[in-house]
Symmetry: D3
Subunit: 260 residues, 6 copies
């Protein structure tokens, strides 16, 4: 089975940066995949992307070396199975609030006897290879999102879930849940402390800590807290931020460092 | 019929900046349309976009005040008619090399007795209003691309075409045709001189000069040459340039002015 | 955040009539949206429409002043979240049979601390505006469908659910459940009485009563019962009824009032 | 090869009424096909429909007995070949202005030695049967549109084109070309006279006269002029007219004959 | 309502062979449907097919006499309702492990008073006819998949579920669950014995036994065990197996019985 | 720029076998691309595939080492440019009947100063690399189809076209044009002789001869005539032939060498 390079890097203590796709188009997916990210994540939860779009986007990503990942819309074994059959090598699952949630998620990602994923890896075996079913349980990575107070409180229990590979903090939801504003890179002290706590506990448990970030500065702080897996904005936000900043410069006629 | 704001601005001597869409997705189309461009152009020639994608993208653009435009894939009355029926208020036509080309293009954009556009403005009358057929000839704008040596040589003749509203320079093809490199913002002196010449002759003929630009600096020079209509990169190039520049900063952990 | 005009009208005691979309096409969606309905509802339950079709249909509706609504396929927080992120200003949820069902539905529609909707309003903030997350809880309307005997029995309890804005009667299912025939505008006395009862109790609870109707006559009776929100057939049924009636007239060659 | 029922009817002197599809959806296509029309025409010229939508729409129509037809976007052998390969049993070609136009159109519809259609009837042989290539030249019907003054003037010459089966008047374009208003059912005397003339000459030449109509009254007049093939509005116009008329009745609460 | 020919055959003791679709295309769906299978099953679980693709594929199948079936992605009333509304005459439901699972599945397939399917058979009534709602409960067939040890253990209880028409063995998952390899046509003795046991108990209960097979040999053995309903590979596997075997022959230049 | 492996092989005197795609699906495209063909050709002429489907299919093919090719629907510079911008490394052009046809085709495939292809290789530079525009003229292969008597007569002149890399015989059309039956592998002596003649003249001119074949036997004969490039049936025909042959065996219960 084709190696999961992201897994190899993470297990060796390295850092993985994932691009994030919210635009349902294969051409932007391939563009992003070839710009140097270690992994590319298709967002089925908040992205404007459904299964029908996801499948060819995974194929577009597979023209590159970036590891293909998908954020599931929900902790639902039906769509998780289909995401994996389509060839994702990592799944990020939202709203893991309890140990039972985490176990259900992992069960949906693993074949028997470990889990209950149904066998039928149509495209996955084109991408992974003919020994896919034998090797998948040890190749595919599982990322549980911690983004509620309940999830935070149950973190240590969640981290004991066999087969759970990584934690992915949803900073915007976590902040909202803790009384802060929505948005990337929360600065409210309790939220920041929670983010620090998650990294520490996760590493302690031998699990990979991950988080979604919106700036270089915040990412650097996260790196220092021990986060090894980081998502950086999204195709949509990159485009939005860039045009919002460059268009007034264009109108002004005075080139600057941002928009030369 | 709904006003063509772009036309009003241009006829009043104002400047129009168009966003440029190469990614076949409605959500990025709506995003671009709401970021402050005066017009948004869907590129059916070099964009990864076909009619099937274009129609809902025009609808997405119509949620904003930006004037909807389309670059036709070719000087072909069949697709030009369908672009207009879908509600475009401006059409950019590639490869106008002769007066006959320009006349054929204009004919495809105008109803009888001026032209030969066939009547059936399905979505166009939803967007433009019930008097669409009566008013379309005076509302829709026609942009002829000058991008070959032949087109350049025939420019003055082309500019005499009744009903031709604007010229749009394809700088990359023009440069290639004149022995320069492909790409935005050509600096080869003969090409630059041709671009200057086009602006001058076009304004002289009472036609609007337009050009596709890749930087603020070049656009400013074009503005000074008299260009009133400018396209600024594209969604695809914006995304590509931004990620290419921001991702290394992200990895470095050292925020800068470009990627804070 | 952009106003929810439908909500304003309903809270002021006014009437809202919604068009209903079952055909998965953006051009018929825009047509319907521009014909004068107060709201347009995309039906993901019984319409031939999935998420992939819904997103550009919501954009097409957003070219008009009609309030965009979606009927969810099921009381499932995953798809409800995605419907809202796509920019719906109202959600109709089928099969609300208990107070717990209603609470789960409302929770899926509201951000913390009121509910558990996950933050990531990609297109919703393009449509609603940059303060979307702050204002959404008070802007988005929730409609619970009463269409089973169990739902009817639990109505008064359901109506106490905080954050539930409206009731939407599914007359066909309710009739079927009570031993009547399927179809719009049920006349079986027990069903009619139930529909009367729902209106009365709903208004009493300060909640908006709504119903799907198939004729002007029945709608007028519903209006007199107190229904403030009414759906009128669907694009599919309108087309079906019209052609079924007009085609024989066309063949006969004898124009009449219906088909002149 | 499956019989072309429309052809059989027309050659026997009977009348064929075609439904007209402008909405790109398979479910409305199947609905229309099952409502009793003799034929169903997918409009690739002014409908919001491209090849990608057309193929499954032809399949949807094939669930009924209605003869599947397509209006080509243009007199272009490339798309005409693809329309036929997809299983259309009749093609309506716009803008036939000269005998040469008509000959090119017929050539694109017929296999050698009669024409130059390229062999490869992928879906057409699923629909028509394994002897498709042998029988297609005598089964597929060709409809030339007369909709310009030039076409009108060349009518008698056009009618001599071997292999041309029928004429289809485009009343809106013809009226516009003759100085009348656009729209169905032109009443300007010169236009009406031209429409009468076309029917007469066409029948005289042993060719089938056809026209697009917008009302029962006008259709009846056309029938009396000898028109055997008639299109009746379109799905889009049916829906538009019906809602425009029924919605105010719905609001008024006073049912009438149109909207009970 | 249109007869369910598959049901008639099975109830008369006959055999039904279903083609299996994993490729999301209508043209291969129509091809498969016209090659002589008794039924055609669209696989929403492991096929690369979502609702959006399924609907026109069901229409394509409806151009033939093959009975249209769908394998649901999961035992979820939301998607099961939409599958049926789209016109499927049989539903195969994965992962039926308990009597409660089976009852929930059947409930999702039947209208009140037997079940809780919501009424709104948009395309289903185009396919089935205007009396669809009245007749559907007795026409649509339900197939429960037995593919886990738990399902096997609860088989006799599951078989007592009123309204359950058939069992469909998932041999690959069952084998995996019992410690064997994944893949069609399991030979591990315990698995084979389980498959024999399922047939015997199912027939005993008056329910139809079905299974997915990968070869003529295995299918013949299944037939002898009493299986009446058999799926034969899939479009994807047929294509894969054929090319894998024929291409080397093609390269060798030595035609053989397989690739002449 | 990424090497064109097919070109390297052909120029070294080797043989290239291409898979042929008529089914519009990315998952079958990826499957075919990974089964060992040297090249994969997407058929926009007779396949059920349009631009919108082609783009992600080219991406799916790009996950393999097979060289991506497209058959254009027509000798039309508009679609040829878009095929190349989407990343095809070879284009097969139908209906090349004269030297002028061949020159127009080559011109559409080459950038200035050799040809008139417009610059804007959106996806092509993702696939080919950043030096795409510089290297494309020497990397992309052009295949002219000879499939009419006129083309056959003009063969020697066509072969002199600078920049024409290969000839691709359309055996079915050629046979039909010469009075034989349609279909692969024509045996009519005059047609066979023409096919022999084409190979001989093409090789003599230093151009690569290619042909579409339907069987191993015929392909071997073609190989002996000097054909270096061969297409082998298509995904659609492979599936059709296999099921047509295997299903009766499956029903019979008697496995054989073809269907074990």
């Amino acid at each position: 089975m084709r190696e999961n390079k992201m897994r190899t890097t993470l297990l060796a203590g390295g850092e993985v940066i994932t691009g994030w796709l919210a635009i349902p188009a294969t051409v932007s997916a391939e563009l992003m995949a070839k710009l140097g990210f270690d992994a590319i994540t298709i967002d089925l939860q908040h992205g404007a992307i459904d299964y029908t779009d996801m499948l060819p986007m995974l194929q577009a990503i597979s023209t590159s070396d970036a590891t293909p990942m998908v954020r599931a819309p929900w902790n639902d074994p039906s769509i998780i199975g289909r995401i994996l059959d389509a060839g994702a090598y990592g799944v990020i699952c939202p709203m893991i609030n309890t140990r039972a949630d985490a176990e259900a998620f992992v069960r949906a990602c693993r074949y028997a006897p470990v889990g209950q994923r149904s066998a039928g890896p149509l495209r996955a075996s084109l991408y992974g290879g003919p020994d896919y079913i034998k090797m998948a349980n040890e190749t595919i990575m599982t990322f549980a999102m911690i983004e509620t107070v309940e999830g935070l409180e149950n973190l240590e229990d969640i981290l004991k879930t066999p087969g759970l590979d990584a934690i992915f903090v949803g900073p915007s939801d976590l902040s909202l849940a803790m009384g802060g504003p929505a948005g990337f890179d929360p600065r409210k002290p309790e939220v920041y402390e929670a983010i620090r706590f998650i990294a520490a506990k996760t590493k302690e448990a031998g699990v990979i800590p991950g988080i979604h970030t919106g700036s270089v500065q915040y990412a650097q702080e996260m790196r220092e807290l021990g986060y090894q897996f980081m998502a950086y904005l999204s195709d949509f936000r990159m485009l939005q931020n860039t045009v919002a900043r460059a268009l007034p410069v264009f109108r002004s006629g005075k080139p600057d460092n941002f928009a030369p």
